[in-house]
Amino acid sequence: MNVPDNLKYYKEHDWVRVEPDGTAVVGITEFAAESLGDIVFVELPEPGTKIKQFDKLGEIESVKAVSDLYTPIGGRVVESNQAVTDAPETVNDSPYDSGWLVKIELSDAGEIDNLLSAAEYEALLAAEG
């Protein structure tokens, strides 16, 4: 299972990467994408929406089931990935790259410290079996 070292993780199987300009890119992990199976629908917040760390971010649906999405980081949504809402399978194909979900302007960079490192997230996956 691919768990890139340069990302931070939330236990609900989301990742976040802080860009040099301070915006955070958020997505779901390869484990989450594979567990869901064929992703067929993604509902994401409008740009401008303010969300708190670990709040519900949106919904993601596979053929069989609906799951809530949670944000690993709080702030203001500056962009939702149109490619993903138009073609939800992009999340299956490329969860860490073109399948990103939202970009968020951080409200508090210190929130990153509440998240897991790649090694910690891998340990969590191993524990969940």
Binding site: D38, E43, E61, V63
Partner: protein, 344 residues
């Protein structure tokens, strides 16, 4: 794997969407051994089944199959099933897995003291459905029979992989194909032979998507003991005017009055997927409930079925589905969503 009607069943092998597309474009195979297989023999078999099933059993000729429902005396659907006439005094009934015990209890309740013997052979025979445009040619290359000559809703006994099998040209996907019943010891050999010939293993997830596209109801979702066959759009499989039919009185009344609600198909016009249990709305008023909903990979739309008042059941009627608090526009369309003739 997931528990289903007392069996452990695969929801998917690789991908529900890939499996569903394989059935529409090539061939897929489903292990449907969880379906019941109940054999009835004896001079009273036809008369007995005629009391239980919604369609006229004595009219069924040898080697033919008929779909029907099993109704309680109020007209509620205990289960749906296919009955096959194998010989003069030998019938095979294939109901669903989910309520096999209930069906068997129901059959026992009406079973006469003599003239008919019921034999539950579910665990002796496995059942593999092979479905899709290439299903017949794949099976043909395994049997000595020319299966293309077996017409839809017919069943033949034929040698297959060194054993005797029952091959029925029936299915639950909207595609051509067969349902093969054979001794369980030979099931893996058939699965392997079909794999070699390019059939895609398919799970319950794909089966559910395909049957919904084909507008086929699923017992437990779209039909159950609280629904009757007329409102479920199954009236053409019901003959309530036969002597001794246990649900005849109730079904005659329902037929004569006309159903107050109807099972309809709808396509989503807004962004969202309807799911079982979502409310069907007409503006501020709830008018029904979704009984099945999914994406349709074949039609590239989101589709569903549910009951609405018969006065609001015409094709083209706009309504809304309450998808977890969001009202999404939908439109009633005639069933089936997909048929292999219509969509060719």
């Amino acid at each position: 794997m997931a528990p289903f009607g007392g069996w452990d069943m695969p929801i998917q092998y690789e991908s529900i969407l890939v499996e569903a597309k394989a059935v529409r474009s090539n061939a897929g195979m489903f292990d449907v051994s969880h379906m019941g297989r109940i054999e009835f023999t004896g001079p009273g078999a036809a008369e007995f089944l005629n009391r239980i099933l919604s369609s006229d059993v004595p009219k069924l000729r040898i080697g033919r199959a008929r779909y029907g429902v099993i109704c309680n005396p109020q007209g509620g659907i205990i289960d749906d099933a296919i009955v096959y006439r194998l010989d003069e005094e030998r019938y095979l009934l294939v109901p669903n897995a989910g309520n096999a015990d209930e069906v068997i209890d129901w059959l026992k309740k009406w079973m006469p003291d003599s003239g008919v013997t019921m034999n539950i052979i579910t665990n002796n025979l496995s059942m593999i459905a092979v479905q899709g445009p290439r299903a017949i040619e794949m099976l043909d290359s395994i049997t000595t029979n020319d299966l293309s000559k077996v017409r839809p809703f017919r069943i033949v006994e034929a040698p297959l992989l060194g054993t005797d099998a029952l091959l029925a040209r029936t299915g639950y996907t909207g595609e051509d194909g067969f349902e093969v019943m054979l001794p369980s010891g030979s099931a893996v050999a058939l699965w392997d032979a079909l794999t070699e010939r390019g059939a895609t293993p398919c799970g319950l997830g794909a089966r559910d998507v395909l049957r919904l596209e084909a507008g086929l109801p699923l017992h437990g979702n779209d039909i159950d003991a609280t629904t009757n066959p007329y409102e479920a759009g199954l009236g053409r499989f019901v003959d309530p005017d036969r002597d001794g039919y246990v649900a005849g009185d109730a079904l005659q009344q329902i037929r004569n009055a006309g159903p107050g609600r109807s099972l309809v198909g709808f396509v989503m016009r807004g962004r969202g997927i309807a799911r079982q249990g979502h409310h069907i709305m007409n503006g501020p008023d709830q008018i029904g409930e979704v009984t099945s909903g999914s994406v349709s990979p074949t039609l590239d739309m989101n589709i569903g079925m549910g009951y609405v008042p018969t006065g609001l059941s015409d094709g083209g009627t706009r309504l809304q589905i309450d998808v977890r608090g969001r009202l999404i526009e939908a439109e009633i369309v005639p069933l089936p969503f997909y048929s292999r003739r219509k969509n060719e």
